[in-house]
């Protein structure tokens, strides 16, 4: 079953600035893929369109079986709230909230009843190995732990697709590796994950890699036995 599908997507910001040009691909449920490309190749624009934070000028986007064209802001945010999870390079945690409260923020807009949120947040934090840090604030956690909290926030609502924008970009290699291992184990449990990265070494270890260049999808490579399988 398809988690996300892009068909002939084009995004331009001015007549002469085309960020994405005729991009088509589909992500099946349970896939783990990387999207790579140099700076300015259109990776961020693609992430925004995949996450419905931006709309294409042409083409269609289907998330979790629903075409997004013509949907109202309310409907789009509804899909975003329930079907998509985001992980950012800079974690984007609220320093004033504890780890558990940050995870609860991810459930706030997904229609999860108040009473259920704490238990779900605790479960998600346990899943990323931070159950003993649930009452810590971000500044009391290491970079790797902060990214784990962000991952817990993203997976707590069990989204159809997890979109990660340079999830290891702000981490050292050891912490970065742990995050990749965590994402791999989540994928093993059935979570669909798309990582946007400029790290081609990381992308090469993933089962599938899409390569962008000048806004065009130039390759879509599937590896039968990716390096990650051998972790």
């Amino acid at each position: 079953m398809t988690a996300l599908e892009l068909d002939s997507v084009m995004r331009m910001f001015a007549p002469d600035i085309v960020a994405l040009d005729d991009v088509s691909f589909a992500i099946d449920q349970g896939e783990f893929l990387g999207i790579i490309g140099p700076s300015g190749s259109g990776k961020s624009t693609l992430l925004n369109i995949m996450g419905m934070l931006d709309s294409p000028n042409r083409g269609t986007v289907i998330v979790d079986g629903r075409e997004t064209r013509g949907l109202s802001d309310r409907e789009l945010t509804g899909i975003r709230a329930t079907s998509l999870g985001f992980i950012f390079q800079g974690f984007h945690l609220d320093d004033g909230l504890t780890a558990a409260e940050n995870v609860c923020t991810g459930l706030l807009y997904a229609g999860v009843p108040r009473k259920a949120r704490s238990a779900i947040a605790a479960e998600a934090l346990a899943r990323v190995g931070l159950i003993d840090r649930m009452h810590h604030r971000p500044q009391q956690l290491s970079g790797g732990q902060r990214q784990r909290v962000a991952i817990a926030r993203a997976i707590a609502k069990r989204p159809a697709l997890l979109l990660a924008d340079e999830p290891t970009g702000a981490l050292d290699s050891k912490n970065g590796e742990q995050i990749i291992e965590l994402l791999k184990s989540l994928n093993d449990e059935g979570v669909t994950i798309a990582i946007i990265t400029h790290d081609s070494a990381l992308a090469a270890r993933l089962p599938r890699t899409l390569t962008l260049s000048d806004g065009k999808l130039v390759s879509d490579v599937r590896v039968p036995t990716p390096a990650l399988e051998r972790l």
């Binding site: 934070l53 931006d54 802001d73 945010t77 329930t82 984007h92 909230l97 807009y109």
Partner: protein
């Protein structure tokens, strides 16, 4: 329709009704959760950034405190003014015979009962200048000869707001006097001595039984010595005709009662007496009230506007600072309405807190100021409640534009800010 079908229909209807009954509480519960979530999210920034929130609240509070202060102080000063004016006798009227060369230089002997019969008149006293010689004793004259002896009848102390400093009031035919404060000073009897003391009036010793406190209303009375109407008859061959009368009336009926008094006391010749208002301040009082109201209302509006602009400014700055948070919430599934409600609740909470704090501070400062100036503390509840309501309304108005702006923020560009 068979019995079985009827039973099945009834069951279906009952099940439907039960579902409808359950739907309403479920909706109410969801609405309640949504309200709590909105309030929670809207006040989150205020709670986790306590210092910043406190500073913003203080900014609002200063504006509101100014509003309460400028609206309360006039009330206190107005009350003080009114108290003073009332102390000076804004409700007192004085009746004198018109001094002509021919006749009626005195009032009728039955002036007291006549005046007392006028409806709005609350109290009356009449006095007669006896035109007699007042001395300390036969060897020691008063400091000057300006002391007058007066016979009095009626409610002297109520009308003139004059209290006895010492002793008791004169009564009966006994030759006794009460000294006005200035008369006491001039006679060299500032306090009542422990043993009985007397002064001489027309050579007759009168026992001093009391000394009055100074009265602001009738300064001429301060240099008088007072005896009872009966004593004046008995000892000084007094003819019983007052030379002056004072009445107090309800303040709001002063204007109406004034022309009635002349006709009452001299029905045959109303022009023969003149009625005056010793304080002469009623008009000034009304003028001052109007002036205060207009001026301070304008000041309060200026302060409130300044407060509102400050709040809007704080909210705009806050949105610029929190673009990333707004982008994140949009990515997490917040609708535009969620974002605008968050900022609107935040602005309103900020202002409500500032309003309450400012009102308390304003009321406190107003009280301190009033006490410092020896004014009565008057903090009209309508001012305090109005200031809080105005603050809340200002928060909503000032937060409206920033909250719409926050909701319209493009989530993709907001998130790309690092």
């Amino acid at each position: 329709m068979s019995r079985g079908e009827r039973a099945a229909r009834r069951e279906a209807r009952e099940a439907h009704e039960a579902r409808e009954r359950n739907r309403l509480p479920a909706r109410a519960a969801r609405a309640y959760e949504a309200i709590i979530d909105t309030l929670n999210t809207g006040t989150l920034w205020l709670r986790v950034r306590a210092m910043r929130a406190t500073l913003s609240i203080v900014g609002v509070a200063i504006g509101i405190a100014t509003v309460v202060l400028v609206a309360s102080l006039p009330a206190s000063s107005q009350a003080a003014l009114e108290e003073r004016l009332t102390a000076l006798g804004a409700d007192v009227l004085r009746i004198d015979p018109v001094q002509t060369s021919t006749e009626l230089q005195k009032l009728p002997t039955d002036s007291l009962p006549r005046l007392a019969r006028v409806g709005p008149v609350r109290s009356v006293f009449v006095a007669a200048n006896l035109h007699v010689d007042v001395q300390r004793n036969d060897r020691q004259r008063a400091a000057d000869n300006a002391l007058v002896a007066m016979a009095v009848a009626g409610d002297f102390s109520t009308v003139l707001r004059s209290q006895l400093l010492q002793g008791s009031w004169v009564e009966g035919v006994r030759p006794s006097v009460v000294l006005g404060s200035e008369a006491a000073r001039r006679l060299g009897i500032p306090r009542l001595p422990s043993s009985a003391t007397s002064i001489e009036i027309e050579g007759i010793p009168f026992t001093v039984v009391g000394i009055l406190e100074p009265t602001e209303l009738a300064v001429d009375m301060q240099s008088a010595v007072f005896m009872s109407w009966e004593a004046a008859h008995e000892w000084l061959e007094f003819d019983g005709q007052p030379t002056v009368a004072y009445v107090t009336a309800f303040e709001d009926s002063i204007r109406e009662v004034r022309p009635v008094l002349a006709a009452t006391i001299a029905p045959d010749k109303p022009g023969g007496v003149q009625v005056s208002q010793p304080s002469g301040v009623l008009a000034a009082k009304e003028t001052s009230r109007t002036t205060f109201d207009g001026l301070f209302l304008a000041l309060a509006l200026v302060a409130l506007t300044v407060g509102g602009i400050g709040i809007a400014n704080t909210m705009f700055a806050s949105i610029l600072e929190r673009r990333r948070d707004i982008g994140l919430r949009r990515a997490l599934g917040a609708r535009r309405l969620d974002i605008s409600s968050q900022f609107l609740v935040e602005a309103s909470a900020l202002c409500a807190a500032g309003g309450v704090l400012g009102s308390l501070a304003g009321a406190g400062l107003s009280a301190v100021w009033a006490i410092g100036h020896d004014w009565p503390v008057v903090i009209p509840p309508v001012v305090v409640l109005g200031a809080i309501a105005a603050s809340l309304a200002t928060g909503v108005i000032a937060g409206l534009a920033p909250s719409v702006r926050a909701a319209r923020l493009d989530p993709a560009s907001a998130l790309s800010l690092e």
